[in-house]
Structure formats: C-alpha cells, structure tokens
Amino acid sequence: MKTYTNTGNIDTRSGFGAGLTELGQSNENVVALCADLTGSLKMNDFKEKFPERFFQVGVAEANMMGMAAGMTIGGKIPFTGTFANFSTGRVYDQIRQSIAYSNKNVKICASHAGLTLGEDGATHQILEDIGLMKMLPGMTVINPCDYNQTKAATKAIAEHDGPVYLRFGRPKVANFTPENQTFEIGKAVELQEGSDVTIVATGHLVWEALEACKTLAENNISAEVIDLHTIKPLDEKTILESIEKTGCVVTAEEHNYFGGMGESIARTLTKNKPVPQEFVAVNDSFGESGKPAKLMEKYHVDASAIIKAVNRVVKRKNPQ
C-alpha cells in the first residue's frame, strides 16, 4: 500500500491564490475579477502585483460574470473569484447565457464550497453547485483535493480554451499530492491500488478516502482509491478499468447526492458495466453552522462514512 504524507495542513483556496499569482507572471492575458472577497479568495497577492489586471466589482456577482464574459472578447482570460454559492446559484442564468451558451473562456473560481465552510451555515454552504455546473453543456467541472493540486489546476485551466468551474474550499486540510505536479484536466489519478472495492473521491473527500483505506486494509479489504479531480469531462476509462478489477464502487463527495459526482459515475456504470455502488454524499439536506470536522461527521461525509459504505457495497457484491 502506498503511503501518503501530509506535508502540513493548508487551505485549497491558498493553492488557488498561489496559482493565480504565478499565472499573472506567466500569462499577460490572465485577468482577475472579485466580488468583495479578495482576502477570502486569496487574491490579494495577484491584486498587489498586477493591479491593472485586477477588477474589484463590489458585491455584484451578476455583473462580474457578465464582465468576465465580455473580457474574453479581446483575448483576455478572466478568473472570477467569490464563494461557491455566489459563483453558481446566484448567477446561474448569467453563466448559462453569457458564458456557457456563448462559449466564453471564463474561469469561474469558487471557494468555500460545501459543508466545510463551517460556522457561516447553510446560507453559504452550497451543496448543489457541482450539479448546477455539470448540467451546462461545454462546462468543465474541477474539484481538486488539496493545496498542491488546486494550485496546479488553477494554472492548467488557463491553458484550456472554454468555460471552467473550479471548486475549492475554506478550511486547512491535508496537503499530500506532489508539489509542482502536472495537472491533466479530465484524467483521474489512481492514488491507491486495490482489488476489493473502488473508492472514487473528489475534493476534500480524497484524503478521507485515503484515511479510510488504512482502516479497511486492517480489515483485509483492499481498496483502490481514485482522485477524481475532474468531474466533467468524466474519465470513464480509468473508472471502468478499476471497476473491472474490483466489481463495486463507493463514491465520496462533499455535495448533495442529487446532481453530484456519484450520479455521474452511476450513469457511466449503468451504460457500461452495472455494479453495486454506494454513495457518500449529503442526503438531500441543507447544512448548518458548526466546525467543519463536526459537520462532516454529522452529515456522513468523512472517512468513517466511507468505511461504512465500503462494508455495505462489498456485502452487496458478495451476497451470502
């Protein structure tokens, strides 16, 4: 079994900020827009280094999305920054018409996604954003798992021509993927090889899956762990190859069951190779205030929930 070392807890949004600053240096067409959350999105460094390419729009997300669409006309590569809730639900129609349908090269960068936003509570804890974004034709949806991967993803999406939704989070979490990794959009990463079950995880749940894997190994369950950082387009090949070997799957995400990554996997399996699947996701509810770890526990989206789901799915695969 491979061992992954947490090199120190750090927030994924800081990975975004660091990636954006590097892009500012390497690509003069990159511009950034922010709706009054410059500090929260870690865009201060970009703002200070490239003030002429930073656009403070105030608390006006709809205008920000439209402006970003317009800036692509003239060759700019706009990165918008606000919370995931205000990056999607609040501006769905602006994204749909001015960005997605118009095929504009806008990078929608969304922090504080999911329950781990914590104490601010359900008004800000969007658990529907992956669904909203993946339904838009032509939209690429990315949910990296740690600081290093978020930084790499931020740089990679600048090279991709087309609208992208990049989802990341607020809390300090384990940083364990390689520094200076190459991020390949649409290519899932196999983190752990296994033979009994495939765990497909995205975002903050990837580290939880690796933690679950250790406990499962003690119980003689060999879990394959796939880091699915790109939810759309979906790397069906990697998923199906793994399922071929393990014969069952658990999907894990910090999102509602409905519209989440798990549903995308279920569709792929139904079309190609139906096998038992269990879902680790929020059970069609809103969140609430609390510490991130407590919330993940209460809403059953952590390592412990993954272990339970694995036990269920393995039983379904091998009925007595």
Binding site: A62, N63, A68, G70, M71, I73, G74, K76, S98, S102
Partner: protein, 282 residues
Amino acid sequence: MADLQKLQTLITQVRRDIVRQTHGVNSGHPGGSLGCTEFFVALYQEIMDYSTDFTMDGKNEDLFFLSNGHISPVFYSVLARSGFFEVEELSTFRKIDSRLQGHPTTHEGLPGIRVASGSLGQGLSVALGAAQAKTLNGDDKLVYTLHGDGELQEGQNWEAIMYAGSRGIDNIIATVDWNKKQIDGATDDVMPLGDLKPKFQAFGWEVISVKQGNDLEHVIEALGVAKKHSGNGKPICILLETEMGNGVDFMMGTHAWHGKAPNDEQLQTAFEQNPETELGDY
C-alpha cells in the same frame, strides 16, 4: 455626411424585412424591432467602424452588443444588409437548423454576434467587460449597446451602471430604447422606471436625450455627439425615445405587437406602408 435618401431607403427595406421575417414563422418580435430601425441603420451605416470580415475579438473595431435580444429581426436585417452574411439567409429566421435563432447567439456562428442575449439585463455587463479588455489592449475603439426600457427592471443593469459610473468607463455608449412599453403594457403601469435621466446621472453617467428616436437625422446626430464626448471620464447613455411598431400604423400606439407576428393581410398593409425598394426583398 450620409446620403440620407439612401439610408431612408435602407430603413424602409429593413422594416419590410422585419415584418416578413416574423410573418414567415408566425412568431418573433416586430414591435421593438420596427421602433429601433433608425438606430440600427445609423449605427451600422454611419457611426461604427467595423469589418464585415468578422472576428470574435474585434480588435481595433467598434463593437455592438444587443442586450434586448428579442428584437433580433432588426439586428439580423441590418447585419445582413451591412454585409455580414447573405440577405437570403433572413428567410431561415427561427426555423430549424438556422443560424438566425429566435434570440441572437454565438452558438451557431452567425457573423456579427459576440454574445447570446435574450434573457434580459445581461448585455451591459458583457459590454463593460469588452470595453475594459479594449483599454487593456490599448485599443481606442468604442463599445455600443442597446437595451430595452422594460429591461432596466432587471437588477443586473444597475450593478453594471454603478460599476461603469464609479470606474469612469468612458469607451462605452449605451442606448436605451425608451418606447415606454413592455409585454404586459405600459412601463408606467407594469413597473414605472421613473425619470431615467437623473437616475443615470446620479450613477455618474453623461446622458443624451433624444426625443425623436425615429428621426434618422436626430439619431445620427446624437450618436455622433456621444462618440465625440467619449473618452472624457464618463460612460455615456443615450435615452432614445422611440415608438414601438414605428412605420406600420396598426402596430403603433400599443404594446400589442411586442411579440406578435402579422398575418397575411396585415403583412400586405405593412408592405403598402413600406413600399418595395431598389434593394429588393430577400
């Protein structure tokens, strides 16, 4: 100065195109289209500097964004008759497999369109982005927009109006088609807009009022003044008072023709009021 007689001929032809397009598919929006005919002809024939060899980026060209996308019939007619695509293509308006969708879109690759519009209130934001990109690119050409007056009820406009005024975006000229009508009736009854001039001024815009928005010379003059005033640290708004349905008598003085097509008989009446021109029907 323009050959006004030539432009008047084009205006008549565009009006014929508008009623034919909507009649042909028994749908579409003739009222606002007819009311904005002089504006479109002035903009594309007299004011804007552009190439019909269309590129999305439009660098070193003036750009135009139609925010109230439902008046696509006038937009399509003027684009075609300005050389962006063949006039014959107007016959495909709103039909299956057409580039001339009910509301304008980039999706089918129609030259002259740079963003989809139809869901109201989004055009000014997009235009502001394009204007800021021009500034970053050292491109001193201008960005023009058109908005319905009812459309100003959408809150996003006011986000954009606030942004443009506070940032002194002075390479944008936004025109409001102030015909005082919307789908459900008079704007004063549906959701009064109040006095738009002081509203825009309070947000830091220069406002040019045009009482006769269906008089070609007045429209050209106002757009010319706006162009001259650009670059002075303020965005410019033209409040263009027009008449919905202008040029077709039974469509005037009512909001009824916002989104209704003429029948065979009504088409003939409209044609009689806008007789055949040397430009020819599509």
